[in-house]
Symmetry: C2
Subunit: 332 residues, 2 copies
């Protein structure tokens, strides 16, 4: 039997190139080897978007379109909606009894996020709890592997702790999952060069960007602010255009030559940006085409999610049945 | 349409006279007037009994027998098991996003309980959250009224806050419940006279006590420790036997006379205890008989719970459907 792998995204916006290189392309590859579940984490998205449910609602379809566009194949991958699996909520409630408040407050990932989101003393209880909800997401599908970045490793630790504690108290029910940390591709930097690509920073290139939007973004990329005239020597390090050429340009020799020329002086940003624009346009064109083709029939996409959700629910229900039996609350 | 009233008990032990005078007798009366839901709160019981699920499991039947024995009528009252209503868990998760951690930590009832249970810094997250779970219990059944003691008023406040916040953000779904604080009967003191009757203090007379157990408990009741000889004057205040005679003895004139005689001296504890024992035996005999009769067929009792749970679930499912529609997560 294939091992089970679980990943997902919070549907708070369309997906961008950072998602593609960080996870989507791995999912496309892994779906052949593993029994893959991909979750549209709307409940988790609501933990800090409670007052903005339209955003979550609308992005379910957008993210699903992104999945299908990059080649996640619903025949091989179960794509499902978190809120439609009540068993996850039930297991979350049971797990909450097996973890102390102090332990949740020590979680480094959550601590960072609380700081970044500026919650101060107004942390929604649900936000603090979300690692527990994630543990339920992962274990209810008996996932062996969870692809995560380094910053998410504390989440997997928390999950293993909960699965282990449950198994110790109530008897063996859960698989202890492992993190699958992808080979570091280098985090894709945003077009402003300031930080990793992220929707909230407004520095992202979306899989769904139109050719014009894409061109505009590439032409506005951060380069070397001291490279004022073509004849000036320029910096390659921290130069977003070169960072992207390293990823998109297969002609490594020419890129090396361009870097040398840029550093000597005599090579303008516009030339480089035009070269990069062609490459990203070529990369995104087939993805965009598939996306537009699926977008013509949103009902069909929702049907894919419905079928995936039904399958996911049947797996979750089987696990919860074992959970309740182990906890001796299987009354009738 | 009748107004809806919701109450319940944590199935952590059989019920005692404190429960009877504090709530059970009101439920028997209220079931005619209201559409009454009575919840066996096993999920809540697990918040501080996670490592002891047998206790919770076994007491489901015991508490149900107590209900039936005192005259809670399943034809008029929906008796149901909390863990079998997944919609409560789902709503709890949604509510957790609408309350801050700081607000939960301020809840005076929970603060007291955390102190009493000696959790120190090892507060199970689920325990801190249980007012949110209670808010879900109450509002998912659209309860207008929740009978509670004064010490539980902060729980109803928390529920009203959550219902109001949900309605404000997502649109009107929930009834804002009101507390129904019963006329103060004086908390039934335990047989040791030290505190209110409570299972954990070991000072309780159970509805299921045998005649011999009952006699033993009455004969060991705390009276006046300085009333050593029959001829000594004795204290009525703080004397458990007189506190109980005030409740169980309908002959108020005779009780007044006994009190006067006791205070003068010349009246022994044993005489009084025997009088009280007869009265409580008479009171508990029909309850015990009904209990024993139901206990002969535990399957039939579980069938009553199954039917009640099915009805409760259909009500909860209707509410959750409105909740998800309001939150715009009703995808298909």
């Amino acid at each position: 039997m294939k091992k089970i792998i679980l990943t997902g995204d919070r549907p708070t916006g369309p997906l961008h190139l950072g998602h593609y290189f960080g996870s989507l392309r791995n999912r496309v590859a892994l779906q052949h080897e593993y029994d893959q579940f991909v979750m549209l984490a709307d409940v988790q998205a609501l933990t800090d978007n409670a007052e903005n449910p339209e955003k979550v609602r609308n992005n379910i379809l957008q993210v699903a379109l992104d999945y299908l566009a990059v080649g996640i194949d619903p025949k091989q991958t179960t794509i499902f909606i978190q809120s439609m699996i009540p068993e996850i909520a039930e297991l979350t409630i049971f797990y909450l009894n097996l973890v102390t408040l102090a332990r949740l407050e020590r979680n480094p990932t959550v601590k960072d996020e609380i700081k970044n989101k500026g919650f101060d003393n107004n942390i929604p209880a649900g936000f603090l709890m979300y690692p527990v909800s994630q543990a339920a997401d992962i274990t209810i599908f008996n996932a062996h592997l969870v692809p995560v970045g380094h910053d998410q490793l504390p989440m997997i630790e928390q999950t293993v702790e909960l699965a282990r504690k449950f198994n110790r108290i109530y008897g063996e029910v859960f698989v202890e999952p492992e993190a699958l940390v992808p080979e570091d591709v280098g985090r894709l930097v945003g077009i402003d060069g300031k930080a990793k690509m992220s929707k909230s920073l407004g520095n992202a290139i979306y899989l769904s960007d139109s050719p014009d939007e894409l061109t505009k973004k590439v032409m506005s990329m951060y380069t070397d602010p001291n490279h004022l005239k073509v004849s000036d020597p320029g910096q390659v390090e921290g130069n977003v255009v070169f960072a992207y050429l390293d990823i998109f340009d297969q002609n490594k020799a020419e890129v090396a030559e361009l870097k040398a020329q840029y550093q000597r002086g005599g090579l303008g940003d516009v030339v480089l940006k035009k070269r990069l624009n062609v490459l990203i346009q070529d990369f995104l064109a087939p993805i965009r085409a598939r996306r537009e083709s699926f977008a013509k029939d949103p009902d069909a996409v929702m049907q894919i999610l419905k079928a995936g959700t039904a399958h996911a629910r049947s797996v979750a229900a089987q696990t919860l049945c074992k959970v309740k039996k182990a906890m001796k609350i299987d009354y009738f």
